[in-house]
Amino acid sequence: MKRSILGVLVIIGIASMGARHNLRAQSANVEPTVKAPTFAVDPRWPKMEGNFGVKGNWLFGAIGSIAVDPTNDHVWAFTRPETLRPDEDYALRNPQMADCCVPSPSVLEFDQAGNFIQGWGGWGPDDWISEHGISVDYRGNVWLSGFNQVLKFTRTGKLLLRIGDREHIPDSNESEGLGYPTKAVVYEKTNEVFISDGYVNRRVIVFDADTGKFKRLWGAYGNKPDDAAPWIRVFDGPPPQQFFVPHDIAVSRDGLVYVADRGNNRVQVFHSDGSFVKETFVDRGVRAPSNTVIGVSVSTDERQQFLYVAGADDHLRILNRDTLQIIGSFGRMGYYPGQMMRLHMSAVDSKGNIYTATAGSDGRRIQKFVYKNGSPQS
């Protein structure tokens, strides 16, 4: 029974493959039941004032991730100060080569209007390197993921909990430690933190969000993860049986867990207990070096109708969360407002606006895409 359901899902997956022109052809024939919302970039967000203004000298490093605080809609970015290039950090030199720039703090908070609120965290040997994931939980705590650990902070940067150990990389079936986790998100109803783990491991792992006590772990299809599986991207044929860099994770209000299976151009969906629900490939045939499924976030309307999938080919694809069909897309490569260079992650605020982060060696921006219309935003 399970196998036959799987077969159906594979067919759905295949049907949703292909380049964008194929999709357009499809959508001409099949009227989507849920209409995709549209978005318009806010080119004046965030405000380039103060330290980011003409007399300031702060510059973002690569932006690992972006998050919205569900309690107040503030926007948080997790940046990599050490990634400023030698042609950017002129103001760090002694003597200064130019008046700009120095890296901004690693963790940055902005309000809805784009005003800079605060920043904390630097780079160095202590707590994080290779800053990757950020989320803000229902109590306003900030969760960072990076180098073999997940760190829980208060809003003002006080460390509350550490999961994992920088010095220890476990395998995918160990309950202690993390293998370069990519994102940690808290599910309010169970107060559990769900971690996509990660660049080294190929699993989802769940801990208690207060105590950090291990709860459970699973691999692709909810099966036992197998680290011996090949690390080879395949763009057609049978679906891979293991995750290949689970790179982002989101939990919907109805308790479904969405995993961005980056190397496989795939989203897998689970119940919060780890039982497999369904999967889809997202433009599976596109061989973008960093893949089409790199970030995943859920819309904030009452029914959470949409799944937003960030692709490293600089498209943010809009999926019907129910059917997992692609029903829209925005963004393209470029440096102008609304264009992106190496889209990495996205986040959604309570009004339905989307925030994006780019993590390349160049063109680093966070941007706001304002929700315009579509199915009603509650």
Binding site: R44, M48, F52, G53, C100, G334, Y335, G338, G363
Partner: protein
Amino acid sequence: MRRNRLYMLVFATAILVGGEPFVPRLAAQIQEVVPGGPVFEVDLSWPKAEGHFGEQGNWDFGAIAGIAIDPANDHVWVATRPATMAQNENFALKYPSMGDCCLPTPPVVEFDAGGKFIQGWGGPEQGHDWLVGGKGVFEYDENGNYVLGRPRLESGLDWWAGEQRISVDHGGNIWLVESNQILKFSNAGKLLVQIGPSGKQADQDGVPRHPTMAVLYAKTNELFVSDMRRVMVFDGDAGKLKRVWGAYGYKPDDSAPSTRILVGPAPKQFNNVQALAISNDGLVYVADSENNRVQVFRTDGTFLKEGFVARDRQVPAGTVVDMALSADSGQQFLYVAGADDHIRILNRETLQTVGSIGRLGHYPGQFYNLHSLAVDSKGDIYAGEDHNGLAGGRRVQKLLFKGIAPAAAVGP
């Protein structure tokens, strides 16, 4: 001048009636407004995101080498360097299976003042030698229309190899420097004149060695060319060399050290002249880039004066990489693009820096590898970004001239 007075009146009225604050909010974000100085605001919809440049399009600029305005119609001509598009950006060109974007635009691209794409052309073709990457790299169909081909060189590009500055003369002809040669084209891209040795470095005098820009001065029908340590002047029709001068109007000396000297006595030689601008009253402004200096001459080569611009800045390409004059009848301001991502506003008379626009960054009104500058008849500025081998920018941005700040006004 009348235009400036009008703006001052409008601003003063706004202050008196307690209406809009004097300085547009966005202007405050991109510049420090100074009394009596020009005020600018970013045009957030230039160029238009449509067609090849739109969401469904896949064109993107290579490095912006130069920008010019057609004085007849304010159209904007952009010289780009398609070969500088990075390997992970030109998927649509080389590896279509890896992504649907991007293709480099043709080397020469024309927009109207509203940001609408008009045409693009350029690349090797019969009759002349568009050097970089050799022949046949850009493809043309049977009718001679440009078909996008491979980029030419992916790395190791000599700085002079490829497209440099562009200018448009009073007859609408396009003057482009490309790989040590000066090419004059019709508006539609037909080659009319070629000066220089087809990409090779000249081994005799009388031809440019590493030219960067060619500007035709209508009043004398002479072509002014910036070339390493000298200014060369050619007959505008025949291409015959008429005169040459170096810094201070001296004889140029190629044996002078190219070490950058940013303190102490002023260097006696130019150090990599990147651009020229000629004022309505016939003064020649020379961007002495690696000396962080502007020198001013009469058209006959007589030295008049000089001004350093943020002389202590050590950014490799210097603080004076391109220049443009303001559009008021007296051309009160000289705008100077610096590779440190500032457009500095100089009083043209005193050569004192009175203001600055922009900073390093990728957001609107910020610049990244600022390299090119042009001003249209309305006083709006166009600013273009280079690619420095590590990273791009590669935008052309339009900054709308919003008038002159009242002498007493202080920005927020």
